[in-house]
Subunit: 683 residues, 2 copies
């Protein structure tokens, strides 16, 4: 049970838990909604390999055909459906999965090849543009779907064709004579192959993943001793100035983390989803090989380096990553503006899902609560915000501040539809993120990473151990544990994550000695046998926190437990300008004529204002936070009129008002004009 995509089956969410309610929405509404969208857009029938009118559309993101990802959209939906079918059977969903799998079987070429675009639109051009096209990315998602399918359906209807396709890939790619020494522009297949290896035990699956990872960014690859993407581009006859839209200059291979071998990369760069999927695979390769072994010891420092750079210098308060729209990814260190009109903020939903994936793998390599803290931060904020409460509308970009160019809103679907089904499948196997465990003979170790009302049932030899949590998380930090064993006694050990945001915590009854290692409380078999019911408490309170001083963001955020808060115009009808502009554009006298002046006077948050909690039940149950007289006024910038720099400090004018903070994930669910902000200006 090393993967959450498998281990989730051991978890049952309590019906009234926070996540059971969200997963219920996904199961009942989202899966169906997304199935409709697949059908309406042509994706559902695409594996029938007929021409679709949209195949003639010019690419929105040159040079990638808009339908290039369709294989993965279908695969991710199948994957999510299989996870959710585990909870409750559903005729319609089941029938759709079966029909799609049948289409996939039929779409496979005699040699195993399986891809919509290169079968219908550009036959004969397979594997000629690994850099830009998503052929291997799609293959990776098909593998993940096949694994989920085989886990639920207990048959090989999907896995069998996929294994045949993987055989073709394994024969095609590698360092042997006659093989292509290439690797995917968009990582994904690497992590999928490692999961496949676990299922099949076939070393060729491990070896192909390892080849893709080790060869990546090799400046002297293959027989030609050149970068594979250069060789490939030359073979395509590509001009060096014919730039993909996401390349700021020719050979911007850092876009896909291929500018240097992974072990030589010192900062996390480029497309953030690619970076996360890649590092998830690298971390898993470390785990498989043990962190102290040759391969493991080779790659672990690189993962640490890149993770550290990401968390400390390139992450938003919500856990979101990526500030640059052009390449959907990372900017320079500490460049983290909150919105489009402040320099950009991307924080793609899929990227935050990728952070969770990576954090989960790292927890398996080394149990340190830091990884689980970041995983929890992403889940409750940057990921959860990606879907509306009704489960039918989604975000792709998750800015921390709205602007006229980009208001805070969700959409029912996207042309590039990676995010919606990614949220579906993530919530589908969410149980696997809550805890990890290892079993051996009559003993079990359970690491509790996330808290929510749920039960883990483990078959340990001839016994069944049930670890139950009861809690009102994320609104209340009390968690009641109940351990029950059916059958002969089991040596159970429990490790509870102590959240990094907790200012204090306690266990009741209190153990004589508290054994805390790397942020986890280690509870012994003996203690658990004496205390099968106990409580873990870490009081949640509203805090005002600040970003790293070098981020040059004179702002403060409000958080409470794992939740990051924002302000919305729905609670502040006086706000018309994204909590920045109190006066609309107006004409002012400039020398002897009139000039249009946009008075951007940011709402100033008094970070010392008393914070009051307010339990709310609409449109969902949550804790709002009221900062009494939290608006200190507006920033008066009149001293800078017609000036570049003046001998003045920030001055605040205007009236005090209350500020109401709501969870960031809840934004854009309660009407309003899509005006929202997380980090509020402080003086």
């Amino acid at each position: 049970m090393e993967y959450p995509q498998e281990s989730f089956v051991a978890t049952t969410f309590a019906e009234d838990s926070f996540w059971a309610r969200r997963r219920e929405v996904v199961r009942v509404r989202t899966l169906r909604h997304q199935l409709q969208m697949l059908k309406r857009t042509g994706r559902y029938d695409a594996f029938r390999l007929k021409w679709h009118p949209s195949y003639s559309d010019p690419p929105t993101v040159y040079p990638i055909p808009n339908h290039q990802f369709w294989d993965s959209d279908i695969a991710k939906w199948i994957e999510g459906a299989c996870y959710l079918l585990t909870d409750h059977f559903d005729d319609e969903i089941d029938a759709a999965v079966k029909e799609l799998v049948h289409m996939i079987q039929e779409a496979q070429h005699a040699d195993g090849y399986l891809n919509i675009h290169y079968s219908v639109v550009e036959p004969g051009k397979r594997f000629t543009n690994l850099r830009d096209m998503h052929e291997l990315y799609n293959a990776g998602h098909l593998i993940e779907a096949a694994l989920a399918h085989s886990l639920y359906y207990k048959n090989d209807d999907m896995l069998s064709p996929i294994l045949k396709y993987v055989d073709l890939l394994a024969a095609t790619f590698g360092a042997q004579e006659g093989q292509l020494p290439g690797y995917p522009g968009h990582p994904e297949i690497e992590l999928a192959l490692l999961r496949l290896y676990k299922a099949t035990g076939l070393s060729k699956h491990l070896q192909l993943a390892q080849f893709f990872i080790e060869e990546r960014g090799n400046p002297r690859g293959g027989k030609e001793k050149r970068h594979y993407y250069d060789v490939e581009a030359e073979a395509r006859g590509e001009s060096g100035h014919d730039l993909p839209m996401y390349f700021p200059a020719a050979r911007s291979y850092w876009y896909q983390q291929a500018h240097a071998p992974i072990v030589d990369q010192k900062t996390i760069e480029g497309h953030s989803v690619r970076a996360m999927y890649l590092l998830t695979a690298v971390a898993d390769l470390v785990r498989i090989n043990q962190p102290t072994s040759g391969i493991g010891a080779k790659f672990l420092p690189a993962v640490h380096q890149l993770w550290s750079n990401m968390v400390e210098k390139k992450s938003y308060a919500t856990g979101g990553i990526g500030s640059v729209k052009k390449w959907e990814g990372f900017g320079i260190d500490y460049s983290l503006p909150q919105g489009t009109d402040e320099g950009g903020c991307y924080a793609e939903t899929c990227a935050a899902i990728g952070v969770m994936m990576l954090a989960e793998r790292l927890l398996q390599v080394e149990l340190d609560s830091h990884y689980a803290d970041i995983m929890e931060l992403c889940l409750y904020n940057a990921v959860l915000t990606g879907m509306s409460l009704d489960g039918k509308a989604f975000t792709y970009v998750n800015q921390l501040a709205s602007s006229d160019q980009d208001i805070s809103q969700r959409h029912e679907w996207f042309e590039c539809a990676c995010c919606p089904p990614n949220v579906t499948r993530t919530l589908g196997f969410l149980g696997g993120y809550l805890w990890s465990h290892t079993l051996k003979d009559q003993s079990a170790v359970v690491n509790v990473h996330l808290y929510t009302s749920a039960t883990l049932s483990l078959k340990v030899s001839r016994s069944t151990v049930k670890v139950q949590q009861r809690t009102d998380w994320p609104w209340n930090g009390d968690v009641n544990f109940d351990i029950r064993t059916e059958g002969p006694p089991v040596d159970l050990r429990l490790r509870l994550r102590i959240p990094g945001w907790a200012k204090s915590w306690e266990v009741t009854p209190r153990p004589e000695q508290l054994d805390v290692r790397d942020g986890y409380l280690y509870l012994s078999t003996e203690w658990l046998q004496q205390n099968p019911q106990f409580r873990f408490s870490c009081p949640m309170q509203a805090l005002v926190v600040r970003p790293h001083p070098l981020a040059m963001q004179p702002v403060a955020y409000v958080t409470r437990g794992p939740i990051v808060y924002c302000v919305e115009d729905a609670d502040h009808p006086w706000e018309q300008h994204h909590f920045k502009v109190t006066q609309p554009a107006r004409h002012v006298k400039w020398i002897k004529s009139e000039v249009l002046r946009h008075e951007i006077q940011r709402t100033i948050f008094d970070s010392t204002a008393p914070l009051r909690e307010e339990q709310r039940s609409q449109p969902d149950r949550y804790v709002a936070i009221i900062a009494e007289n939290g608006v200190a006024g507006e920033l008066d910038t009149s001293a800078w009129n017609r000036q570049i720099a003046v001998e003045s400090r920030n001055a605040v004018v205007g009236e005090r008002r209350n500020l109401c903070f709501i969870p960031y994930y809840l934004r854009a669910n309660r009407g309003g004009q899509g005006q929202m902000r997380v980090g509020l200006r402080v003086v």
Copy 2:
């Protein structure tokens, strides 16, 4: 005498004045150094129209051939030489000008065409790529050179071939049947044509400039009713994805201020030099037509709007403009990082020269000290910093903070060598920036914009009026005026700019009534006749100033009078990391392995520290400013280790030290490692 390029001849700098010393360096060393560079690089002989090996080089900035600007390099050197020959005749310089002019004469095609690249490298392709190629830009500089040449040599050796070329251009471009409805990608010819119109009085010169200005950015131009650059690109058979290096996306015509008609542009965008040259022409068109007339009234609001946007939201403390390297130009509003590792800073020398040009034109349209304030700011800081004290090394980019990627240094020349000769010619006609004047019958009005020891001699009817300033500007704010008239009395009126940075000012003897309008003190004929000697004083003192709060730069600058200061490692040998990093990169424990950590702990400036002035004489005379214990310590960011946001405020640790500020223009003249910073972090 409406143009400073002509009116400068009326000014004589006192030998001991600040600017006389700089101009002497330019005359004696820079002109010769640049002549050598022209010869060494092949530019000097390029108008012989022989092949040069470098013509085969791939373009550094695709798609512009590296030699594309050579015509303008030669022209600007001729122009500067002619201004400086006015002061002192010089055999070598005179001979070189004559030889170059002879080559230009010989290089002209029978139909008047005159361009190196399209004569030697791509004959037959003239006028096929106005968007990218610098054909009309070069023509503009040839016109300016010809005007300077004719003013000094009093012959038509250069003007005559240039007029023939302009005739060809006037026949080629326009709205008539058979003409090309295009306009230059890099403005320059517009302002040159307006100056030419003044010299020739020929309306075709005015009309061509006006056509270029009015047609620019027309989305429905020409017979095809389409954007000219689209029509042109299609004719070249260009792919929409074959992007010039400076275009972030296809059709990024805002790069050259051609995304919309000028009157519809609300923010200043794109390449900053192009923007300034264009607006200088637009302002001059307004002046020629009167601001209240049809054309003038049409364009003046646009100039105001764009100037206002530039000064208030897109200018650096030094007067430099442009933060984005990719397009050498403007970022979004208030995005003004100081150096490469903070998000970028460009502040090209030529762009600041362009701001001076535009400000000077605007002063002719409406006398307001605001324009002269900005002109002075640019001159003493963003422009003057572009040349070393010895006159032989130059900057192109003028960042406000050095970094490992871009240290503070000068170079003897550049492949794209626009800046060095631009500084030369600007200092050549600097006298024309000091004051403007209008003469009528027996009366004269003199507007004093800049202060320095110099004398303006005006022939008014049969008299000569001499207005003399004596001052130690920019180190001392006392200016002694001495008015003398030879011949019959003249009705002289004087208007003195009151610097915006002055906290107080006085005139001695004190006029009974002070007539101040738009920042100028108006002195009447009567008062001047009674007080031909008087003193204008505005005490200079060191100030700590701050950028606009929305620039998100928690920094402070030190200024004194018109001078913006910086700190350099030459005065602070303890500083090794650009006044940002006090600890070099080191390995720290990260989970269970080591991670390379770059401890960026910025030097914190105590903005309340007492400032002491120190007169220095090496390597030049200047006033240094010592902030006693001005280093408050370093920023302690340890609370953010492994964290994204924490409940902490900035903490300062480490020892106090003195800080020494020197004028920004003086940087990189005294050894050291090129570590420099203008805006220092404050808490």
